[in-house]
Amino acid sequence: MSHHHPRRRRLKLRSFYIWHRYVGLTAALLVLILAVTGLALNHTERWQLDSRHVTWDWVLDWYGVEAPAQSLSFLAGNQRISQMGRHLYLDRAELPGEYDSLRGAVALREWLVVAADQSLLLLSPDGELIERLTGHDGVPAGLQSVGISPVGQLVVRGGHGIYAPDEEFLDWGHWYGNLELVQWSAPSPLPPALRGDLARHYRTEVLPLERVLLDLHSGRIFGSWGVYLMDAAALFLLFLAGSGSWLWIQQRRKRLTHRRAQARAAAHRSAKPIETP
């Protein structure tokens, strides 16, 4: 029995080595994903991962990111103001801020006036924001639509009547002109080419890079089974930590035993009496 014991131990050790190797190889790819994404997520703020967005079509398709089917659009002079989701666009350029409802847009002198939510955006022709006016600045409550009076003045339909500002938009008052002569801003269909461009842009503004990294890290990017996959990676890591330590201890014990045996043999040799002729 004692004769077979070292052989069995060697076989056991060898089998453990093989397990350690294959589990290590299996876990390698998952551990790589965990390590790289974990490292990146540790520096979310510095690398602005929460404000940078994914632009790869296949990732967006994987997440099912779609542009809204419905979009509002208004023609103001020869420019077009459109809404896609909560984003506003002047032709193809995105305007700052997010808005729930676009209510109209008109060209006024050299400016564009856009009514969105309960505010008016005054824009230069190249889309630069001149000023955003809200109720504090005199914009009527219950803003519904904007139009141009027969004399080229801005007219705003509020919840309690029709109002008009002065030339500098500093002072507001009731407007009592003929409503039938007002050219109210009305929605018009978005040209297909422009709609395609805006939809593409919209898709690239939706998915933060941080979300994808978090989902990769947790495995959720691969669906509910992905979580179990990453759980398996974690269990593999635990196994590797245990098996690696165990193998190291076995090796160390073997080395020590070998050294002791060598030391004993050396001591035995030196203790032998010298034979004299």
Binding site: P96, S124, I130, E131, H136, D137, L170
Partner: protein, 179 residues
């Protein structure tokens, strides 16, 4: 509830309450103007940010100002400004009053960040009283930081510099020596 869990739950509750407490509208902009001008605020005026003014505003903020014109209220030698600057992620709406090139009042009107709301307290905003612009549009004094609110402190310092600079543009005022 197990006794051991009570301190943990209490600590979590305090954290949530602290976050909720930081955010808020502390004074409506209209109420601020009414207070500053004793119930009779003058009509608004606008300062256009063009050329040198636009460039200097950009230098002070470290980025372009959000719009091409800024509204202000002036009565005699006092100007009032309601300006916004992002602390960490959200804009801080601030009311500022300048008199003869010196900051008379700085008040946080709307604070939207979850942390750093301490900048609204008088112990902090009092530091700006009588501040004026020195060389390179910098304040003539050091503003003490608040630990945990560094970005909000920076944002308010920038707004104070901006209001003083804008005041100089609309009043061409001369800074009076400190008392």
């Amino acid at each position: 509830m197990p006794m051991k869990l009570r301190p943990v739950i209490l600590a979590l509750l305090l954290l949530v309450l602290q976050d909720a407490a930081a955010r808020g509208v502390y004074q409506d902009p209209d109420a601020f103007l009414n207070e500053v001008f004793a119930g009779e605020p003058p009509g608004p005026q606008v300062l256009w940010l063009r050329g040198e003014i636009k460039k200097t505003a950009e230098e002070i903020l470290g980025h372009r100002y959000g719009s091409l014109r800024v509204r202000y209220w002036q009565q005699g030698d006092r100007t009032a400004w309601i300006l916004e600057e992002i602390g960490k992620e959200e804009p801080i709406t601030t009311g500022l009053v300048v008199r003869r090139g010196r900051m008379e009042r700085l008040r946080v009107l709307v604070y939207r960040e979850s942390r750093g709301g301490e900048v609204r307290y008088d112990f902090f905003t009092d530091q700006f009283r009588d501040a004026s612009l020195g060389a390179d549009q910098a304040l003539d004094r050091t503003i003490d930081n608040i630990s945990g609110a560094t970005l909000s402190v920076r944002a308010l310092t920038k707004l104070a510099r901006l209001a003083l600079y804008f005041d100089g543009q609309v009043t061409a005022s001369h800074v009076t020596p400190s008392p």
